[in-house]
């Protein structure tokens, strides 16, 4: 680039107004690199506050900043070495109404450094509506990628299906777990929720102490603790109920176990001798009004190393002790707690419970460190990948400002070289003509219009699958449902009533062949859904009781790569998704030498002899885990 071109580039940069969404791992590196590169007008949105675990890579933050707004602290830190540029920080959720299309329109380019699919989709739609180019990115461990999305020229972020967060059929969690993650979900969303969470919430855990022989006997909720019931005794009662009685009850159903390994019931008296409750006088002696949010069961039991694998006895001790500590020291919180990965006692309890259940079902046990990662959906992360990705983002941003469309690239940062490349640029795809987000293709919904309610449609399809925040549903001229601040009571009552009706019973009946219009005004997204009535749905394969289709699947979404991609905290999804696959005629990309190999297929894990650590991938992607069992 000669001097004149350099100067021209600099003037594009200096005159640009840039929006950054996210001030975390990628955000810190990105803000720094933008500032060094000569950008002078940067806005940054982030709703989070700083935590200790951020400090290993979010280098603009210090220990003294824990608890403060990421966006604000990042801004202050960068102004220290570039004091004369303009940085505007917003400590807010990018989904807030203030960030509407007009807000987005003021920027020349939007740069994402997000960690969840939901927000990414939202920003994608706003960028399309505002016609502002978007540079997307993601990292997980050593993998990373940067993609460019320009309306009309390239795919939008949603042109290729991003797999939704993995959910498990209820029966797998409650009755037939086969993987450790199933045990974690049980321990976290069922047991922990039942014991310490909102009592009014629905819960699939069997709580009745039914005697199978006489169903007419008075049933009591085992989980209700009597006023002065001894905590240790209560703990054992719960233990015996969920690990003993419930398992025996499940075993009585022969059908379930015809082709499955039978679990074994475990009772506290066989694992923990009675005398232990006297030895652990520490918790008994504590006043019930003590309030200590940093209590932990591990030190009381002499357990120091979170990476250590506990046996059944130790897990059982932790289970009882943690439960006791909740009642002894955190009584006020019981009934209001939700699982938080940074709540040490909650993590201990869930780990222990999951492990005991795993033991029962013959599933390998896991350390607290591993269990915490799975239960907390923790994404492993390092500074270097974020730094590399930030550099790549700025390079693409500059191309976008110069409107150098031929040079736009999707770049993949690989852990192992593919055809000698650690950084692999690929030409972007053209927009997918069948994308319901940027190309307005109608979707097809198969649903039982007589049984499914409007509420199911709103929750499972409109909100979850279509990612709409403030939806509006119309059938012809009839407004079936909408969300908003400006609705009067009559309208709200009307909509609430509609939610409880089955589709075919709605004021404007939705039946086979009906076409629904679903809109989100903030995202300026409008979809048409063709409804097809279907009587039956497979409980295992179609647990939701409805199937949405109509957009073209991404070529590489076979079982394998789909499962290595994303979840709530998804990062380098497309590293595997964009790999080999049939080319569609409309796609611009040349197959040439730029095929990233499916990294995950190679299990070349370089480890030293005594290392036990496996790469803990996204927790829901357990099938890809390469763990060596001790």
């Amino acid at each position: 680039m000669d001097t004149q071109q350099q100067q021209q580039q600099q003037s594009f940069i200096q005159g640009a107004k840039v929006l950054m969404v996210g001030a975390g791992g990628i955000g810190c590196e990105l803000l720094k690199t933008l500032a060094l590169s000569g950008f002078q007008d940067i806005h940054i949105i982030d709703m989070d506050t700083i935590e200790v675990s951020n400090l290993n890579r979010q280098f603009l933050f210090r220990r003294s900043h824990v608890g403060q707004s990421k966006a604000k602290v990042a801004r202050d830190a960068v102004l220290r070495f570039r004091p004369h540029i303009n940085i505007r920080s917003y400590h807010a959720n990018v989904k807030n109404p203030e960030f509407d299309v007009d807000f987005f329109k003021q920027f020349d380019v939007v740069l994402n450094g997000l960690d969840n699919l939901d927000a990414r989709r939202h920003v994608n739609r706003l960028c399309l509506a505002a016609d502002v180019p978007l540079v997307e990115s993601g990292t997980t461990g050593f993998l990373g990628q940067v993609t460019v999305h320009v309306k009309g020229k390239t795919e939008c972020y949603e042109c290729q299906t991003k797999p939704a967060p993995k959910t498990y059929p209820v029966c797998t969690i409650t009755s037939t777990p086969t993987k450790f993650v199933h045990c974690i979900v049980w321990a976290k969303d069922l047991l922990f929720a039942k014991l310490f969470g909102d009592k009014n919430q629905d819960n699939d855990l069997n709580v009745r102490a039914n005697n199978a022989a006489s169903s007419s006997k008075e049933t009591e909720d085992v989980f209700e603790r009597a006023e002065d019931e001894d905590i240790d005794q209560y703990g054992r009662k719960i233990y015996d109920h969920v690990f003993g009685y419930n398992i025996e009850a499940a075993l009585s159903n022969e059908e379930t176990w015809k082709n499955r390994t039978r679990p074994r019931p475990i009772y506290s008296k066989e694992v923990l001798p009675e005398s232990l409750s006297q030895q652990n006088g520490t918790t008994q002696n504590c006043s019930a009004t003590d309030d200590d949010s940093t209590v932990s069961a591990m030190p009381l039991l002499g357990l120091k190393n979170p990476q250590e694998l506990w046996g059944l006895t130790q897990n059982s001790l932790v289970f009882i002790e943690a439960l006791k500590l909740f009642f002894a020291k955190r009584k006020k919180e019981i009934g209001h707690l939700t699982f938080d990965k940074d709540d040490q006692l909650a993590v201990e309890f869930v780990t222990a419970a999951a492990n005991i259940r795993a033991e029962s079902f013959g599933i390998p046990l896991h350390s607290l460190f591993e269990a915490k990662g799975i239960a907390g959906n923790i994404v492993h992360a390092v500074a270097t990948t974020n730094a590399i990705v930030a550099g790549l983002i700025v390079i693409e941003a500059i191309k976008v400002l110069k409107k150098d469309a031929d040079k736009y690239r999707m770049t993949y940062c690989l852990e192992h070289p593919s055809r000698k490349m650690l950084l692999m640029p690929v030409e972007p795809f053209e927009p997918n003509p069948a994308c319901y987000v940027c190309s307005k293709t109608p979707l097809v919904l198969e649903i039982n219009t007589q049984k499914s309610k409007l509420r199911d449609l709103v929750d499972k399809i409109v909100t979850a699958k279509l990612g709409m925040n403030l939806p509006l549903i119309m059938h012809g001229a009839s407004l079936l449902y909408e969300v908003g601040d400006d609705l009067d009571d009559i309208m709200v009552a009307n909509y609430n009533a509609n939610l409880e009706k089955s589709l075919s019973e709605l004021p404007s009946p939705v039946i086979n062949g009906s076409i629904l219009t679903v809109e989100d005004l903030q995202q300026e997204l409008s979809c048409k859904i063709n409804v097809k009535h279907r009587e039956e749905f497979d409980e295992e394969k179609e647990p939701e009781g409805m199937v949405l289709s109509g957009w073209t699947q991404s070529p590489a979404t076979n079982g394998e790569s789909a499962s290595t991609s994303n979840n709530e905290n998804e990062k380098a999804v497309d590293v595997t998704e964009s790999s080999s696959g049939p080319e569609m005629a409309s796609k611009k990309r040349r197959l040439s030498e730029t095929q990233p190999e499916n990294d995950k297929k190679e299990t070349e894990n370089v480890e030293s002899d005594d290392d036990e650590i496996m790469e803990i991938e996204n927790p829901v992607m357990v099938s890809k885990k390469k763990k060596r069992v001790e």
């Binding site: 680039m1 590196e29 720094k32 690199t33 500032a35 060094l36 590169s37 200790v52 675990s53 400090l55 290993n56 890579r57 280098f59 210090r62 220290r80 070495f81 570039r82 004091p83 461990g141 050593f142 990476q307 460190f369 990662g373 923790i378 994404v379 492993h380 992360a381 390092v382 500074a383 270097t384 990948t385 730094a387 590399i388 930030a390 550099g391 790549l392 700025v394 390079i395 690239r409 940062c413 192992h416 070289p417 000698k420 490349m421 650690l422 950084l423 692999m424 640029p425 299990t603 070349e604 894990n605 370089v606 480890e607 030293s608 002899d609 005594d610 290392d611 650590i613 803990i616 390469k626």
Partner: protein
């Protein structure tokens, strides 16, 4: 606290990266000692990364005084003339780096790297030379190789929006997991001297052109007695002459080294911040791998060029001639 186990503080701070490379690797990192010489944008990025990763110590060598130019692409230097006047680049960067991770020992070593004795390098596990001259790179590499302790050796050079990393881990043994089995692997790295003197003719055509271009620039700067980056477009005729001679000596066509690339490298001596982040990131990853003993190392050159967006590994040694 210097026990075998990671402290509670370390475990909490390094949680997310321990999930990437494991606790044992993290332990090894906290015991490692890194020497870094020559600090500009890319090396500043590198230092930030390894400090965050939690190495044991980082020793900085760069006696150049802070000036306006040093501020470009180096976010470790606050733009306050009162703060940096009279101080060396190493001194200012040292203060900033300590801030990123108080658990890492960051210090300054003054003087000329090439004048150091062989024993000097024994204190370190890793030596990184940024923007070094051909002579310095050769001399230090030789000293590192003389030691019985294996000292990992790296060079890094960024010009315009390109970057080169060189790796020498000598004889490096590690285990790889292949199809549920553990396989013993060994890589033999050529010395720096060997790697830059490889005859060009047998080198595969598709090798990154940057390899050859950097060799031309190296020779130019050595012949003319220039410091790193002390060149401009005015030197182009001389550089092209050198290229011609080298190509002739190697019996290869001059088209092997595009003139346009050489032009870029000598006129764009200011680093491009995004390239600094990328090359500094890759370099840090490599050092972390070598220290922790986890991960297949890059062998033995890495090239990045923002113009085509590729980051490639090139394996260049005398084995081509055999």
């Amino acid at each position: 606290m210097d026990g075998e186990e990671l402290t509670e503080q370390e475990t909490a701070l390094y949680d997310r990266q321990i999930r990437v490379w494991g606790a044992n690797a993290q332990r090894r990192l906290t015991k490692s000692h890194i020497l870094v010489s020559g600090i500009k944008g890319t090396v500043a990025e590198f230092c930030k990364n390894i400090v965050l990763a939690g190495v044991g110590s980082v020793t900085l060598m760069d006696d150049s005084l802070v000036n306006e130019e040093a501020l470009n692409a180096n976010f470790l230097i606050p733009p306050d003339e009162n703060a940096y006047r009279g101080k060396t680049v190493a001194e200012i960067c040292c203060d900033s780096l300590k801030d990123f991770n108080p658990m890492v020992l960051v210090s300054v070593e003054k003087g000329d790297l090439s004048a150091r004795s062989t024993e000097f390098f024994e204190k370190f596990d890793v030596v990184v030379i940024g923007y070094g001259s051909l002579a310095t790179k050769k001399a230090v590499n030789e000293k590192c190789r003389k030691l019985s302790k294996r000292v990992a050796f790296y060079t890094v050079d960024c010009r315009d929006s390109c970057g080169e990393i060189f790796v020498d881990l000598q004889d490096y043994k590690y285990t790889k997991k292949k199809l549920e089995e553990k396989v013993e692997c060994e890589l033999n790295f050529p010395s720096f001297q060997e790697a830059v003197s490889v005859p060009w003719k047998p080198i595969p055509r598709r090798t990154a052109k940057l390899y050859f271009a950097m060799r031309v620039i190296e020779v130019f700067e050595e012949n003319e007695g220039r410091k790193h980056g002390e060149c401009s477009l005015l030197d182009l005729p001389t550089v092209l002459e050198i290229k011609k001679k080298l190509c002739e000596a190697n019996s290869v066509s001059e088209s092997l080294v595009p003139d346009s690339l050489l032009e870029r490298l000598i006129s764009g001596t200011i680093e491009f911040p995004p390239a600094c982040a990328i090359v500094g990131g890759i370099l840090a990853q490599e050092v972390i791998k070598a220290v922790s003993g986890k991960g297949e190392p890059l062998k033995n050159f890495f090239y990045y060029d923002a113009q085509d967006g590729k980051g490639v590994m090139e394996d260049i040694s005398n084995s081509f001639t055999s």
